[in-house]
Symmetry: C2
Subunit: 389 residues, 2 copies
């Protein structure tokens, strides 16, 4: 536990800091790096030079900045290091080549007829990876593969413990993909990766304490960012807000026997009331908006109360700066923002709530892929010196 600290560690951390600035904060000039790190000009020059030599950054000619003084070279990520992010789901496997700076370079979606078995999914992924690599410029170097799994993933060995929607249980899926593809594979829960992505590149940029809840087809998942890093917990299973049982004001408002958040705040029930078979989020939002049915409004109001109670519990415990809602929960927020905020305020300690806002997620459908890419890039970002092109 005590971090032994050697002189070389300073270089490693400083390289990581500089790469991080360019990758996450899209800092663009070397002078900005100097100002933001507080390091000496000459040191930054050496660090950037090393990262350029490693093939992780590129320096370009200064761009006219209309400021006094010698212009500083532009710094941006080298396009060559990439990862492949993959999200296996019940209806399709989606994958993308992602570069530094969350640049989604190439994206493919392979629909499947039936819910894939692990073996099916491995085969599809192996194929998709081959295709993506073949279609990418020759100079791309795939560092790793990142999997966003709709289920619980053990942090220690990336074992998929239980992915209810896919019906997978205790599947060493990451290891299977690794064997099939021959590249390092990392994996984590999809919602946790969504939280990470929103924190780094989305609605939560620059916010170091936030909670994220996403309403998807497979229920409600989430994640928390604490002091700028993802809350993992002991086994890596943290963030299961959807399985929580929030208090319900009026017993009649609880309509399921278990009373978990994801059972009560159910997208399917609203779709049902609207008489829709299926819809994507914009369609659903529009349908709710235009519907004249009182039953829909009553149901939305009921769900809102339960969602608010769950969010209130989370706010009391985390005192976050931001609550980010994605998918169906973003639709819920958009339906009546002030009312949801008021309902949350009613269930929180005033001090803990003050200064907290609730916002919709910003990254759309690339969110999970960006999160998975971040995970795959992590070893490189932590220790850029180890990168071998």
């Amino acid at each position: 536990m005590p971090a032994p600290d050697h002189v070389e560690g300073v270089r490693r951390r400083n390289l990581a800091t500089v790469l991080d600035l360019v990758h996450h904060r899209r800092v663009s000039s070397r002078a900005d790096v100097t100002a933001l790190t507080g390091l000496n000009r000459s040191t930054v020059a050496a660090l950037v030079a090393e990262l350029v030599a490693l093939g992780l950054l590129e320096e370009g000619d200064p761009v006219a900045s209309s400021r006094v003084g010698r212009p500083s070279p532009v710094v941006h990520p080298d396009p060559r290091p990439v990862v492949i992010a993959v999200n296996p789901e019940v209806d399709a496997v989606t994958a993308a080549v992602v570069g530094l700076g969350a640049r989604v370079e190439r994206r493919v979606r392979r629909p499947v007829d039936a819910v894939p078995t692990p073996e099916d999914a491995v085969a599809i992924i192996a194929d998709v990876v081959r295709e993506l690599v073949a279609a990418s410029p020759r100079n791309r170097r795939v560092a790793a593969i990142g999997l966003a799994i709709p289920g619980l993933v053990r942090a220690s060995d990336r074992l998929v413990r239980w992915a209810s929607h896919l019906g997978w249980r205790e599947v060493p899926f990451a290891a299977m993909v690794e064997d099939a593809v021959g590249l390092p594979v990392v994996a984590d829960n999809d919602a946790s990766l969504g939280a990470l992505a929103e924190h780094l590149f989305g609605a939560g940029r620059g916010v170091d304490d936030l909670i994220y809840l996403n309403g998807g087809a497979s229920g409600i998942g989430g994640g928390a960012i604490v002091r700028g890093s993802l809350l993992t917990g002991r086994g890596g299973y943290a963030g299961e807000f959807g399985q929580n049982r929030p208090g319900v004001d009026d017993p009649h408002n609880r309509v399921t026997s278990r009373g978990t958040l994801e059972d009560e705040v159910s997208r399917a029930r609203v779709l049902d009331l609207l008489g829709l078979e299926s819809a994507d989020e914009p369609q659903l939002a529009a349908a709710i908006e235009t519907s004249a049915s009182p039953a829909v409004r009553v149901e939305m109001r009921r769900q809102q109360g339960i969602l608010a109670a769950a969010l209130g519990n989370a706010v009391n415990v985390f005192n976050p700066e931001l609550v980010v809602l994605g998918g169906y929960l973003a639709t819920h927020l958009a339906w009546d923002p002030p009312s949801l905020e008021d309902a949350v305020r009613d269930t929180t300690v005033p001090a803990a709530w003050e200064g907290t806002s609730i916002v919709p997620a910003a990254l759309g459908e690339d969110r999970l892929l960006i999160g998975a890419a971040e995970l795959a890039f992590r070893p490189l970002l932590r220790d850029p010196g180890k990168w071998n092109p």
Copy 2:
């Protein structure tokens, strides 16, 4: 936000690491420090020598260890640097001189007739501090004063936002004490400091992910340790588990209108059923144990279900290694441990629950003082080189 890293920072961190080992883990020989840090022998020798010169550690003659090889000098905290920890409460102000290694050196309790105003409390504290300093050995150097406040404390400026039990609102209490005493003063919520103390010196030693809930006279407070450090949240108000509204299986089991954990799981209600005016925890536990009243058992069972729901929500979200219960909640745990565990298991994701245990707090009544002392020592522990004797 990016941590600029200079060469001198290495020394600072290594000094902190060594001091931390002796302070928190009570490491006793220089050779152990070498082994645990992974640093070089000669480096550790230099670090320890510097800490000795600073008056923070003492080296003693080697003690017979019955092991082959040259014996290594014993290392222990220097008794001179101390802090004064203070816990103002409704019925008394408790304070203690605490040295490194959580050594409670001298402890005083000043009962008060009425709930103290901030001004009352400041006067008492000023007096108690004078007394403690006068009664301490001349060589003691008081680094700071740490306050454990039964209420919400803003992290940025230590303002007491709301201490319901004391009736204080928006009181700059830490600043008032600082003015009166002339020493640096730090402050935080009492339950958060309890969590910190249990993590470092109590039931949660060596556990980096835990949650702590305490049932006290003023309700239920708590805190979470995430990756080895206290979860503070944006403003410092995190950990308000007591204000959460857990789901209740059977509506009849909810007996209050708000339905918050601390209203439902109420010590007062059980005291009432037992026909007791007041009792300390051991007395209460004994009374519950020996009571033949079915009403008591029913009420305990009811409360247990609600406590379990709240703990289940927390376990789903934090996936902690340990749940530590203090005060009245420890009494609840002791009443029927397997039943409480079963009830929590029923409300959690199996993977998140697995490997989690629920244990009673270990530190008794010194807990808050040890936590407050830790807070007061923190600047010294973070940067021992700055210490000026």
